[in-house]
């Protein structure tokens, strides 16, 4: 059973005047058990719309969603799911502890288990000292931490988090990543949206890229990145009897070496030619493709 399965999902926001907006356009995808899935996309891509449909807050125009093998809005699915909305807002008249108590009651948790669980969660998200402070006095980062705690209150099998890293400082982000990785170790599935690519690169098993409501790419991060033809930077010193190398594209660097950038296919030929000429090879360094480069190029490709 896949924790999330989406088939031909479309969401159109109708307008009384003018054209309707297609926020999600025929998306089909699934998330595997126990993986951390990063859902990427620029602002307005439709990430929040899709996540809100997963949480049962929005109704799809067409298509199907299965959460933990159950159809959308199923109680048993929601019982095992945790959700954090983008820029969450909670009841200002409650304290952090009271909010988690409220959340536990909505899951029907027995009273004797609640207090222990809530205190452990407050500690886990770094609010151990602030549990009795009213939410109206919380900072943005504290609210985000509380949001993560309320999503974990029912010990969910599946976590759906919309931009969970926004509002967190670098320490908060590090702690959040540790929490996510510890959840993975417990066998839980995490599906989260973000536009902070550096964080995705470090913790996600797979990513999906959404743009203008369409799912552009989906797959394992290292496989997606390796699809890109990597260029290789080669530095060398020509033989003593040649002042300039035979390679016309080579450029002289400030350090006095020559440098040429070639693709993987040509590398063998270039190296063989240089060695034949008696050149001394200083270094061969593959230029890595970052997720950011990949992300931008995928978006640009779709734009054109």
């Amino acid at each position: 059973m896949r924790p999330i399965k989406i088939e031909k999902l479309t969401k159109i926001y109708p307008k009384f005047f003018g054209n309707s907006t297609k926020a999600i356009d025929n998306v089909t995808m699934s998330v595997e058990q126990g993986e951390i899935f990063g859902f990427l996309g620029p602002n307005g891509a439709g990430k929040t719309t899709l996540l809100k449909m997963l949480a049962g807050l929005l109704y799809p125009t067409s298509g199907q969603i299965w959460i933990l093998g159950q159809t959308m809005h199923s109680f048993s699915a929601k019982q095992s799911m945790g959700f954090l909305s983008e820029n969450p807002s909670f009841y200002n008249h409650l304290s952090g502890f009271e909010l988690l108590d409220f959340a536990s009651a909505l899951f029907g948790m027995p009273a004797e288990k609640k207090t222990k669980r809530i205190n452990a969660l407050l500690q886990k998200v770094g609010l151990g000292e602030s549990g009795n402070i009213r939410i109206s006095d919380y900072s943005k980062g504290m609210i985000q931490r509380l949001g993560i705690a309320q999503a974990l209150v029912n010990n969910p099998e599946l976590l759906i988090l919309d931009e969970p890293l926004s509002g967190l400082d670098p320490i908060g982000r590090k702690e959040f990543k540790e929490i996510i990785l510890s959840l993975k170790e417990e066998g839980k599935t995490v599906f989260f949206s973000t536009h902070i690519l550096a964080d995705v690169e470090r913790i996600c098993d797979r990513v999906g890229i959404l743009h203008k409501g369409k799912l552009l790419r989906i797959g394992e991060l290292n496989i997606l990145l390796s699809e890109r033809q990597r260029s290789i930077s080669l530095s060398f010193k020509p033989s003593e009897h040649r002042k300039t190398p035979s390679l016309p594209d080579a450029k002289l660097t400030a350090e006095g070496y020559w440098n040429i950038t070639v693709n993987g296919e040509k590398l063998q030929k270039v190296v063989a030619s240089l060695l034949k000429d008696g050149a001394h090879i200083i270094s061969i360094i593959p230029e890595t493709v970052s997720l950011e480069d990949f992300f931008v190029s995928e978006i640009e490709k779709n734009e054109t």
Binding site: K52, L58, K78
Partner: protein, 253 residues
């Protein structure tokens, strides 16, 4: 369990509002100030004070229902706190009923405080403490129940300003229901007659809930009238809550 949690949260949220404390404080002061009417009452002080007190309780109850009731659901949508609840295993209908009952719990508490205070004032000023006052208060409370249900209903699809406005207009027209029927019976124009009759039958006849005059003049309020009014309020409220739940169930949040 879940319903109780939502009821209690709505109650906690309402009682921690400054607006509620201001209205309660003002009502208590106004009831206490009813003593100034004694010199003007020409020997009818108990009737004047009872009329003034019961009228104040009714009007402040309605005012609270409109001001707090019309914000309650809307604020959850506006501040997105609704995501916290609906993403959990909670039916949308449970949320609506919970908000409604939470508001009623708040208003019941307020009315209780006002009634106790009113009895104290009445006893101090006139030495009377008639039980018949409770009949008038009870029927006024049923009117507040309907008004609250209307606030919830309007809140599911409009902003607090429109919700307050619609509910207030409905309250005014509802109180004038017998006059509307009278006007309809005297109108010759068939279209105007039909329109007035339609308004009369669609809006709640809130004059049924006003037995203040009878209580003040020590007239007996018949059991039939009380039972009819209870059933009337119950049916109206159920229809409004079912409609609100249905609208809310289909709503994109």
């Amino acid at each position: 369990m879940k319903l109780r949690t939502i009821i209690l949260n709505t109650f906690k949220e309402a009682v921690r509002k400054k607006l509620l404390l201001i209205v309660i404080g003002f009502s208590l002061l106004l009831l206490a100030a009813s003593g100034v009417l004694v010199p003007l009452s020409l020997g009818e002080e108990s009737k004047i004070i009872m009329d003034f007190g019961l009228g104040s309780i009714s009007i402040f109850g309605i005012l609270l229902a409109i001001l707090i009731g019309s914000q309650s659901v809307f604020n959850e949508l506006e501040r997105k706190t609704i995501y916290f609840i609906i993403s959990k295993p909670v039916r949308r209908e449970t949320f609506i009923i919970g908000k409604f009952l939470g508001l009623l719990l708040t208003f019941t508490t307020v009315i209780f405080i006002l009634v106790v205070w009113f009895y104290v004032i009445l006893f101090v000023l006139t030495g009377l403490h008639p039980a018949s006052i409770l009949i008038s208060v009870f029927l006024s409370y049923l009117e507040i129940v309907i008004i609250t249900a209307f606030c919830i209903f309007f809140s599911t699809f409009t902003s607090p300003i429109f919700s307050s406005l619609f509910t207030f207009l409905l309250f005014v027209v509802g109180r004038l229901a017998p006059d509307i029927q009278l006007l309809a019976s005297k109108t010759a124009n068939p279209f105007a007659h039909f329109s007035l009759q339609l308004v009369y039958y669609v809006i709640p006849n809130l004059s049924n809930f006003n037995v203040r005059g009878m209580v003040v003049h020590s007239e007996l309020v018949s059991h039939n009238h009380i039972l009819f009014t209870i059933a009337y309020a119950f049916i109206y409220t159920i229809i409004l809550l079912v409609s609100s739940s249905e609208i809310f169930r289909r709503k994109d949040l």
